[in-house]
Subunit: 255 residues, 2 copies
Amino acid sequence: MHTLKFTAESISNGMVERDFTVGDVPGVLWSPASGATDRAPLVLMGHGGGNHKKHPAMSGRARLLVAGCGFHVAVIDAPGHGDRPRTAHDEEEIAALFRAREAGEPEGAIVVRYNSHLAELAVPEWRTVLDALQELPEIGADGPVGYYGINMGTAIGVPLMAVEPRITAAVLGQHWPDVLAEKAKQITVPIEFDMQWDDEHIPRESALALFDAFASKEKTLHANSGKHKELPRFEADSAVRFFARHLGRSVAAPA
Amino acid sequence: MHTLKFTAESISNGMVERDFTVGDVPGVLWSPASGATDRAPLVLMGHGGGNHKKHPAMSGRARLLVAGCGFHVAVIDAPGHGDRPRTAHDEEEIAALFRAREAGEPEGAIVVRYNSHLAELAVPEWRTVLDALQELPEIGADGPVGYYGINMGTAIGVPLMAVEPRITAAVLGQHWPDVLAEKAKQITVPIEFDMQWDDEHIPRESALALFDAFASKEKTLHANSGKHKELPRFEADSAVRFFARHLGRSVAAPA
């Protein structure tokens, strides 16, 4: 069993930020500055491809979740990302992706293949990290757990949730259904799913097919006009309200 | 020109409720109890087929808009609905709809046809009522105006907005694209559009086609699992936030 070791601690924007490791996996745990050790629900977040655990998209969403609901929020670096080493295979796949982009060729097949590989590595890592996080008294073994990850965060989140009953609600989106749709059919917890209506990488029908695949009785699709990278900021606010509803918290008034 | 005449006034649930008429059209104007005569944005609401201006779906949404943002909210009875007389044509169409329902036949063609007829009557009525409402000092001729109507409220709202530039944001949804899609192509203001993913009356592809038709640069589709009548309550909260963003108000903390 791997235990969680805190390696650094700082305070900013009303959050306690604690860096940690579980085995070789580096992560960050954000908590309310006014109650970092108070018991509260946990939201796991998966970062996007090419990003890392403290990318502004992660710290920004964490701030909304921590300030809005007092949640604890944990992110780990995916394999080959952030503070983790890249393998020769990682380098090859990234080079293939960049070649496709420069040539103006579709990148879907490469992203699907590489993300699927990373998910195979990341799923057991997440389960071990969740074991270790639940050893902390402020999280506990029986507290509610959500998952929030778009793009690569969904490529990892869907297979994780297919085998992980501790995650009881998730905000996902912006991925192809290949590989993931079969896993999504095993997921029954409430889902909010984001897609971009004019996504230049993920065909509209593909995004709709992945949403359709979830077996969840309660699921909501949010489709916004705009291209792949134009997901509106207000969807992060919506995610906070989703987790408030499903993990049992109310949302504080906006600052 | 028709002027607005107030015919009754009461206070409940923190709202002033003022009944009014504009010519033959009866309506209701809900305003904050603590500032019924304060200038604030106006939201017009269209009720559903078979309902009326004070149906609980209307008063409930009004309460969220008034308490949450201090908006004024106006609803009028559609032709043949609420306090308005039914014509022989209304009776025939309603009988045709009930026959189809009892026989388990699709009702879409009848609803589309009848709603289109009602919209032809209702659009000029709404424009006259809006003229009259804008004579009130608490609304004014230059204040922001939104429109919120699902089902028949969308059948009337889409042709209204196609000719009415004063409406600058709308929450719509749950209707067939026949008749409406061509009008939706003329609409460019921000739209939030609700559909039910498992709607037993409106085929999924039809709902997606109507959303797709809007020319709006900013548009958001909210698709929820469930049947036609199972639109989740939280979509009304989302509508309040949509109007707060687009009509220039912030949302108060939930009571």
